[in-house]
């Protein structure tokens, strides 16, 4: 299990491959990899967005991320997991978050990945401030549930 916060742009696919290559012993057992990548869009709520700043609470953010990944690993038989979250100034099309879960069976990998994403979205201290094409900046008010439509 690895949790990383980074203020630099990262390539999620390179990160996954590097992580797998460093842990070859596990690969033979992991039949299923479930991956989620959140990318910065160039619009939100109908308004063009030119960039974003991701604020966080150093210390608590890492602590809460590790907590939810540990919870996921206790709820499902996860072989390994990798979570990377961007902070600082972000441009459209850059990756914000990567969650990767390796498991023997696909159901566990899907469930754990989604659990981590929903817990991250609702409990881990990150805050987005968007720079708008039209009207300066705005803090994003709240995240919506990923289990409901919309």
């Amino acid at each position: 299990m690895t949790v990383k916060i980074t203020d630099r742009a990262f390539d999620p696919y390179q990160e996954i491959q590097a992580y797998q290559n460093a842990r070859t012993a596990n690969i033979g057992a992991a039949g299923a990899s479930s991956i989620f990548i959140g990318t910065m869009r160039d619009f939100n709520d109908g308004v063009g967005v030119t960039g974003m700043t991701l604020d966080y609470y150093p210390g608590m953010t890492e602590k809460q991320l590790e907590k939810i990944v540990t919870e996921a690993q206790s709820l499902w038989p996860v072989i390994d997991s990798l979570v990377i979250h961007r902070v600082g100034d972000i441009l459209p099309h850059e990756s914000i978050v990567l969650v990767a879960v390796w498991s023997s069976h696909r159901g566990d990998a899907f469930d754990a990945t989604r659990y981590i994403m929903e817990a991250l979205k609702s409990t881990v201290p990150f805050w987005k401030k968007e720079r708008l094409v039209t009207e300066g900046e705005r803090w994003v008010a709240h995240n919506t549930s990923g289990y409901k439509a919309g």
């Binding site: 959140g38 991701l54 604020d55 966080y56 609470y57 210390g59 608590m60 602590k63 809460q64 979250h85 914000i96 978050v97 994403m117 991250l120 979205k121 609702s122 409990t123 881990v124 201290p125 990150f126 805050w127 987005k128 401030k129 803090w139 994003v140 008010a141 709240h142 995240n143």
Partner: protein, 77 residues
């Protein structure tokens, strides 16, 4: 007792500061910490609170040396 207080994101903008130091002699709840350092600013209804980097309720007690944080709903991911 001595309490460190942090504000994040829109709440930092709202109170106009990123941190406060509070020294006090009585027992305090988290809610009372807010009231002491923000006498003129009502606590926004959706505010979250943490003590020593763990989520707490507003009627939980704080202890000497605790770090209290107030922040709006999180919007990461």
């Amino acid at each position: 007792m001595s309490i460190k207080v942090f504000y994040f994101a829109s709440l930092k903008d709202h109170v106009g500061r990123s941190e406060d130091d509070l020294t006090y002699t009585c027992l305090l709840t988290v809610k009372e910490v807010w009231t002491h350092v923000n006498a003129d600013t009502a606590l926004p209804g959706n505010t979250l609170a943490a003590v020593n980097m763990e989520y707490v309720e507003f009627d939980d007690m704080v202890n000497d040396g605790d770090v209290v944080a107030f922040f709006p709903p999180v919007t990461g991911g």
